[in-house]
Symmetry: C2
Subunit: 474 residues, 2 copies
């Protein structure tokens, strides 16, 4: 059940914004987030992560403001709460150039933009990065996002997932079905760049999209960038089971996480996939120092810089959170697992400094949403390993508390311990794609992943699969 | 009238495709376009251009295949004719990282994607590159492009420009009206990231778009990337007069170009703009060597590698060109100035090796579509200067004939001559934005440009300007 025989997946959870999940910590004297819109910020961060042999940088995203509280834009703008926020696909283009091995994951919503253009950007990134790209599929949850794309309000939750299913189907057809892997010849003798018998229209006509093709990018190293997903509503977990290769889970205890892991694996199996071809990450906040005392002092200093979200919320000024009365919050976390809500709750809970409610993370660890560890490098390594063991997790999506202090500490103090224990890689494997590194198999999607059907172009002619149906051929 | 007192604008016209405008030259033994989907290709190209102190790299784009001939995809795919083609916005993200001073222009169509997401990508690029971005506004012309975005056929020509006007209006509102230039405070004492009184919704409701805002990116160095445009239909020239800061002109002679320059300037004046705030480029093909004989030998070798488009066209296999009977072509070039058609014609004429029909470009120069020069560096410098003088051009958009041979020759043999004559810069000015370099004024759009009205946020409340109307406030 545990995967202690192989390295933990190490991911940094980030965003092109001054505040991702730790409001106010940009005021810490050592914090560097004033430079978040400069290439030097991302270049330095990428260098730290490659020094620590991280698997990936995982960029969150929203396409609107958290303006649903009474004061509208005032709180998110004054706090810098996920606004301004740089476009993650553009950031990945720059990071592809400034890093050599790091996996690069961007969040992109299937609800508002056309799949043809996105598929091209995704494939362009995978080609340029030589196979280091992942796509975190989201469906968006902010009313303001809908209003930025011509809609009066959010698309209803289940309809968003229906659109997402079809959006993914279009992307699969374009990236795997439109060009054969050996279509490009580049033959100077016959003066043939590509074999026209191996390139075709997809002629997708579905309920939400009509896309002729052909795809505009030749097959990239992974064909399809690795599919990430973070949905933990019932619909979201079924969706993850159908599509996701890496799942970013919520959950306040190892037991809660294990339940989600098992649910998603059973969804994967039910849709014909090999459940061993999924990987699971949870959030972790890790504050480490050479001694435990120093770590706690550091954590206390960071906490002093956090915005007092409780007070803001009392005044009705936390964007979106007026929907969450304090006493209902915990039940709500467990009941509703929409990723958007979880992110809000995570930020809020952090700010509230609520007592831990369930579980414990071992030495130095406390469970909030995901894992919070304060201690030495060895204690953090113990806690991460313990949580992974207890929950069936494959790794962690680690948040920056201050930039770049906490992640640099992690690289300098935790990674070497994990490396000594054989739980973190000491070198990258040259030429390995992100999927090969994360899943231990080939560069392209697994044969049981629903995208793989389109490697046989005759499957392009099948009618579009209905929402939620098995996507693998009968 | 002439601008010999200031450097010529030097631009490289490129595309993320094995073939941009010179079909078949990828078969040349020295050509490097096999690597067009690798970062090392673009890094090396950027380095050559910065060595030559070029103003910019200008990326063309299409969002569909040239499949309107009888054989559909066969000819464009086998020739690699603008397919595959990498996404230019992603390429610019990588180039922002691999270059330091080069201007970076991407083509993007206003017809198929939502303006909110594009505005964010554009502003992200401008922020990360520290103000080196330009946007070449196009409306698309391929039927296949429309089919990739859910439409049965092209949007009608004038409607495309109507959409483009509104798309630009939305982009202007987001980039100039939504955030005041001094909105971001980053004040650790008051714990205020941005002043909420200086950030606002745009609440755009027009015929084609409804966009609430706020814009998601804080003001970038240029606020609005430099607006390029290449339309030379009657509608396109009026559009250029309203919006464009740099116009890429067709025309087979200095006189024809001068007429277009004057037409567009008069459109600019009629819409309240300062016509001196526009710059004009034409295409140039430059093949140079230390001696004239070597240059002609080089040109002959390149021409031998070109695809025989005449024969292909005879067989009805040049995509799109079946609409252009040979005998009507010249009249058609003059009559119809749709940029899409011009690009097709340019490729076709090159392949046909037609005799020059009008005008001459001075020593070593011959007029095709734009200028073709074969000769020594001094002869090329003479021809470029002569054409700029005769036509009122500010500079040239130079095509790669073989990569990177011809552009490296240009940098090594033509640029030093222009530099000695004071017609090319010898150093970049550190910290200068692209707009400052091209237009010699401030980093933001000129006060008479229609975007500038939104620096006064009260103008956000005005009704959307009707198509073709003056956009400056009364």
């Amino acid at each position: 059940m545990t995967r202690h025989d192989r390295p933990l997946i190490l991911s940094l959870f980030e965003m092109g914004s001054v505040v991702h999940l730790s409001p106010g910590t940009w005021t810490h004297p050592e914090d560097r987030r004033h430079g978040v819109d400069s290439l030097s910020f991302w270049r330095e961060l990428g260098g730290i992560l490659e020094q620590g042999r991280f698997d990936q940088l995982f960029l969150a995203d929203v396409v609107g403001a958290y303006d649903s509280a009474e004061d509208g834009l005032r709180s998110p703008v004054s706090q810098g709460y996920q606004i301004p926020a740089l476009d993650p696909l553009i950031l990945l283009g720059a990071l592809a150039e400034s890093t050599d091995h790091l996996g690069l994951a961007a969040t992109f919503s299937t609800t508002y933009e056309p799949p043809f253009a996105f598929a091209r950007r995704l494939a362009t990134l995978d080609a340029l990065s030589e196979g280091r790209i992942a796509w975190n599929v989201v469906t968006s949850y902010l009313k303001n996002a809908a209003q930025n794309f011509g809609l009066p309000d959010q698309v209803q939750h289940d309809t968003r997932y229906e659109i997402a299913d079809e959006f993914l189907d279009v992307v699969y057809k374009l990236l795997l079905g439109s060009w054969d892997s050996d279509a490009v010849l580049g033959d100077t003798q016959t003066r043939t760049w590509a074999d026209p018998d191996k390139v075709r229209y997809i002629d997708h006509k579905g309920r939400h999209f009509s896309v002729r093709g052909p795809h505009l990018v030749a097959p990239s190293p992974q064909r399809l960038p690795v599919i990430f997903q973070a949905g933990s509503s019932l619909t979201g977990m079924a969706f993850a089971g159908r599509h996701a290769e890496v799942v970013f889970l919520g959950g306040n205890s190892p037991e809660a996480i294990r339940a989600n892991v098992e649910t998603i694996k059973s969804h994967a199996a039910a849709s014909g996939r090999d459940p061993d071809q999924l990987r699971f990450l949870a959030a972790a906040q890790v504050i480490v120092a050479p001694t435990e005392e120093q770590a706690h002092a550091k954590a206390a200093e960071i906490d002093r810089c956090r915005s007092d979200w409780a007070a803001l919320q009392k005044n009705g000024r936390i964007p979106g959170l007026e929907r969450y009365p304090h006493e209902e919050l915990v039940a709500d976390i467990i009941r509703r697992r929409d990723p958007g809500h979880e992110i809000l709750i995570r930020g809020w809970r952090e700010g509230q400094r609520v007592k831990d409610l369930r579980g414990s993370a071992g030495a130095g660890g406390r469970a909030r949403n995901g894992l919070r560890v304060v201690g030495t490098g060895a204690q953090a390594a113990d806690a991460l390993t313990h949580w992974a063991h207890e929950s069936g997790l494959d790794g962690f999506n680690i948040g920056n508390q201050i930039s770049f202090g906490t992640i640099r500490d992690f690289v300098e103090l935790v990674v070497p311990v994990l490396q000594r224990r054989g739980l973190a890689r000491t070198e990258y494997t040259p030429g390995q794609t992100l999927r090969e590194r994360l899943l231990g198999a080939g560069p392209g999607p697994h044969s049981t992943h629903p995208s793989s059907r389109y490697l046989d172009p005759s499957n392009l002619k099948l009618p579009a699969a209905p929402f939620g149906a098995r996507l693998t051929p009968a």
